[in-house]
Symmetry: C2
Subunit: 228 residues, 2 copies
């Protein structure tokens, strides 16, 4: 199999049957040796971080597939820390779709004149473009449409799916006594059918979860969710 | 009459008949003594800047009123550099509505991965919240709605009016051989009828205009538009 992309936290291989293999690495994003899922550079290596991310992704994506919410997930191999996925193309140069249940992070930094920290938000969806150099700026539905990144019809589907998936994840966290504050998803188009698919991963680094008023670190979160 | 607000470039007085009086000052926004309409602080004083802004605003708003596009403009007194306006309330703590015909400025800084400098944009509308401390962040229709700043119905009207007004201004500039790149408008609700009104001003400092490839400074722009 052929290595086609070396990412910050994953390597991507092309398989002979047309599928792709994502290899989850123990490298995590952060700055100055501190794990920060929102950071744009690899900050440190944590033994087992890749496998923990893969296990959580496999947990969520297999359940989503069962519920008829299309994802790129085919299966996972925990001994190699790899996940087999369907081929998909990203929108433009890649988008991140955020669903917010509580006002924290960049939302609070932008709209702090109108919201209190931690104020409840009604499954608020926003999209940012993946662009490290320009600090991943938010982009509106109209701008995505005008720049031919996404049609308005596709935006509507993306928004609906994001709310559906995020509420599902929030529900799984709730079963373990945790509250989901926000979550970041990625979508693409199925390379064969053009259908909108949930791609990438859902691991601890994709969300902010709290137990009461305490922020739960990504690796701790993965342990809690996957505990019997 | 009572002074009720001292702004960066205008003072506001309440009149006894319920109208308000805006007094245009010669202070203009900028940094380090350079006129910059996008700046958040007053940078310098230019003799005649207030009157020039008032004359251009009066020119555009009286024509808009004639066309049935509601504005807060009642009349102007050039000898005092004042404008009488209807009472209106702003959305939240104030919004700026931008219409873009060419990709320059903050749009280019955010979406430079997808557009070339100066590329044509299809009357693209975006809203920013007035918040000097948070650098006037852009905000989506959904966020405006969720934060109870504007309903989705009002957003639709705002967007339609913005395009209509901006195209009208672009047409007036075109008569003088100028091209409008982008323009910033402000809207509010009529204090009596709740109708959406164009408020504030449209002067050289609210727009970027070019003659060929040359940027036209706000005061020069006012001279060109108002020349017979």
């Amino acid at each position: 199999m052929e290595l086609i992309y070396k990412g910050k936290t994953k390597n991507v291989f092309k398989l002979e049957d047309g599928h792709y293999l994502l290899q989850f690495k123990d490298d995590v994003t952060g700055e100055n040796g501190v794990f920060d899922p929102g950071a744009n550079s690899v900050g440190l290596t944590i033994d087992g971080a890749g496998l923990a991310g893969l296990k959580l992704t496999s947990f969520f994506y297999s359940k989503l597939n069962e519920q008829g919410i299309p994802t790129h997930y085919v299966d996972a191999n925990f001994s190699d820390a790899t996940m087999t996925v369907k081929p998909a193309t990203v929108f433009g140069k890649g988008l991140e779709v955020i669903c917010r249940f509580k006002a924290v992070g960049s939302f609070l930094r932008r709209y702090g004149a109108y919201v209190q920290e931690g104020q409840e938000l009604d499954s608020f969806v926003e999209v940012t473009i993946k662009d490290d150099e320009r600090l991943d700026p938010p982009i509106s539905a109209d701008a995505l449409h005008m720049l031919s990144i996404l049609s308005l019809e596709e935006y509507a589907i993306l928004k609906e799916r994001t709310i559906e998936i995020s509420k599902f994840v929030a529900g799984e966290l709730e079963k373990k006594g945790l509250t989901l504050y926000d979550i970041k998803l990625e979508f693409g188009r199925d390379a064969k059918t053009n259908e909108i698919l949930l791609i990438d991963e859902i691991s601890g680094g994709n969300m902010r979860a709290y137990k009461g008023n305490t922020y739960i670190e990504p690796l701790e979160l993965e342990k809690i969710i996957l505990a019997d």
